[in-house]
Amino acid sequence: MRLLIKGGTVVDPVAGSLAESDVLVENGVITRVGRGIAAPGAKVIEAGGKLVAPGLIDMHVHLREPGHEAKETVETGCRAAVRGGFTAVACMPNTSPVADSRAVIRYILERAREAGLARVYPVGALTRGSGGEELSEMADLKEAGAVALSDDGRPVANPGVMRRAMQYAGMLGLPVISHCEDPDLADGGVMNEGYTATRLGLKGIPGAAEEVMVARDIILAGLTGCRLHIAHVSTAGSVRLIREAKARGIPVTAEVTPHHFTLTDRAVEGYDTSTKVNPPLRGEADVAAIREALADGTIDVIATDHAPHTPEEKDVEYDRAPFGMVGLETAVGLVWTELVAGGVISPARAIAMMTVNPASVLGLEAGLLAPGSAADITVIDPELEERVDPDTFYSKGRNTPFAGRLLKGLPVMTMVGGKIVYRR
């Protein structure tokens, strides 16, 4: 099976360059990248005017299976992923049961194989049941296929437990992904603390709830030497802490979601529960700091924190609605519209933050478009415009605050291992 992607602009996220090239794929592997490749008999995909990028990786999604199949399944999540241009996702362990055992990790991988769409890299629980008390069997999880450890959504409150967990994970060479939130400072808040929360009468979550934990975990990364990845950074204060830690050589990386670089807490006006997310949408100064951090390299990765919920769960009072929004199918459009067209980062850097950078955090052999690598390829049409219509989502989740928003720069083809898994 030979496929020739012809006439596109190939993005090299490592060199940071763009060049018009053809890409030849044979038996699921990229065999040649260059100008004017002649491949008689190969199926030709015309890519003129489009960007041909290494397959995008979303290192922070919730696939909800096992246990919450009404929200999403591995299959529907993978369908959403490939429609969104992602050839791989890393899924968080807050399923039911929690992915704290070999059995659950294997189950998720089995379901992903059955789906046969995006590659799925499970993240194992850092503590048993994500209870924040006893360490999970991390070596077992690693053997079963877990690529990182996290108690996402239920951050480890006890610093002593966190220290030991990071020591143990460090021993195994697994990164710890930390959802930084001090539960006592968050104290039942539902949105960013500030003027909007005050006006709306909703309980606020101060930026300090995140920053205190970012500071703690950076200090523990220094103590233990464990690689630390800060999930969904949302405040200017967190950005400062990470920037300073990196300068000191602490092994820390960080990610930002499209909603945190696009929206402020003003979006909560009107009490639309699709804006309820954790960490919450923050203030203008925070969004500005995050954009600056995306540009200067303080932030390494763009990840969605795709968190589908059912309409029944979201169609309630703001206080009662669960946190989370879907993100897989709007991420590329938001990155292109807000960051690339907005002049914040270059196209090559945008691609790097969704390919080689997450691959490097997770220790994956992925994110490159070069002879010999698996043919995981995403084709993006930078001129294609479309309004977000949640009814067209492949995800089961419809909980997006971006409904009706015009996005420009969208994925048009997704290939995993040489197989076209999505094409519009």
Partner: protein
């Protein structure tokens, strides 16, 4: 007369003209309340449903009487008797009530934004009777009515609001209402009970009660809930009363003819002393009476009844 919006969800963004229209109408309603037979057929055939998801005596009774004085049919639903206890969502309960034929739904709910959820889904007019810590617009309107009636004006007055500002929907609605009418608002309470960036509303903030009272024309005292002590937001009732209780000595700092108001229910001896609560400057009971008039005006304006004059 300017047309009313479909719902009354809050006073944020309300203009002087709109508020005056309601207050003028409330004055006509108060006149009806003063008659021998205080009932007019204006809203005959209209149905008002009071959905109260929080305990309430005065607001619920006030709405119920307001509806009855206008000859509307009034039905009360409380959270314990509603299908909420069977797990029905607020939206579904509201849709059912709309389908049963309600013209106005009055909602009291412990969560901010609940009336917005209703207003966006059902056809009947929705009146916010207090949603979490967000707004309580009818309380603010009755406060405005009371002040206008007593002082002859609102513009230019110094209004002090003292107590737990963070959890007070009354404070928020009063800030918007009094500010829109040209008064200056000062907020006062312990730092732990003043919400973030509240000064961006245009109100001034202080933590010393003496600063708030100095020359004030209106003093609105808020109820302090003991629950906030358990949440670690203030050390206790004793010190609270010492720092923020309104007594005769403190009241002397305010203008000589300052009005003392309270949305009720009052914690006597805590936020307000007996002699002040029952003193000549207190208009707490008149607030309650005016509340009925204001709610009659709102029901009339939102349910689209016939001319009030036709009632005679």
């Amino acid at each position: 007369m300017a047309r009313m919006k479909k719902d009354l969800l809050g006073l944020e963004g309300a203009g002087e003209r709109e508020i005056n229209q309601i207050l003028d109408m409330a004055a006509s309603m108060k006149e009806i309340m003063g008659r021998q037979i205080k009932k007019v057929p204006t809203l005959r055939g209209k149905t008002v449903v009071n959905m109260f998801y929080e305990p309430s005596t005065r607001t619920r009774t006030s709405f119920e009487l307001a509806a009855k004085y206008l000859s509307a049919d009034a039905v009360n639903i409380s959270s314990s008797t509603s299908s909420a206890v069977k797990g029905e969502s607020l939206k579904d309960t509201a849709a059912t009530i709309a389908a049963l034929g309600a013209d106005v739904v009055v909602l009291r709910h412990p969560m901010a934004g609940a009336p917005h959820l209703l207003a966006g889904t059902i056809k009947p007019a929705v009146i916010n009777a207090g949603d979490g810590a967000h707004e309580h617009p009818t309380q603010a309107l009755l406060d405005l009515f009371t002040v206008r009636e007593k002082k002859g004006r609102i513009s230019g007055l110094q209004v002090a609001i003292v107590g737990d500002i963070t959890h007070s929907r009354v404070a928020r609605s009063d800030i918007w209402g009094f500010t829109a009418m040209g008064a200056s608002v000062r907020l006062c309470g312990p730092a732990t009970l003043i919400p973030a960036e509240i000064e961006r509303t245009g109100a001034r903030c202080c933590t010393r009660m003496e600063d708030a009272l100095e020359g004030a024309d209106v003093v609105i005292m808020l109820r302090i809930q003991l629950e906030r002590q358990r949440q670690g937001l203030f050390p206790g009732i004793r010190e609270y009363g010492r720092l923020y209780g309104l007594n005769r000595e403190r009241l002397a700092l305010a203008a000589r003819d300052a009005l003392v108001m309270h949305p009720g229910p009052v914690n006597r001896g805590v936020e307000i002393s007996h002699d002040v609560a029952d003193g000549v400057q207190s208009v707490i009971n008149e607030q309650v009476t005016n509340g009925v008039a204001v709610r009659m005006a709102l029901l009339y304006l939102l349910a689209g009844g016939g001319a009030v004059e036709a009632a005679d």
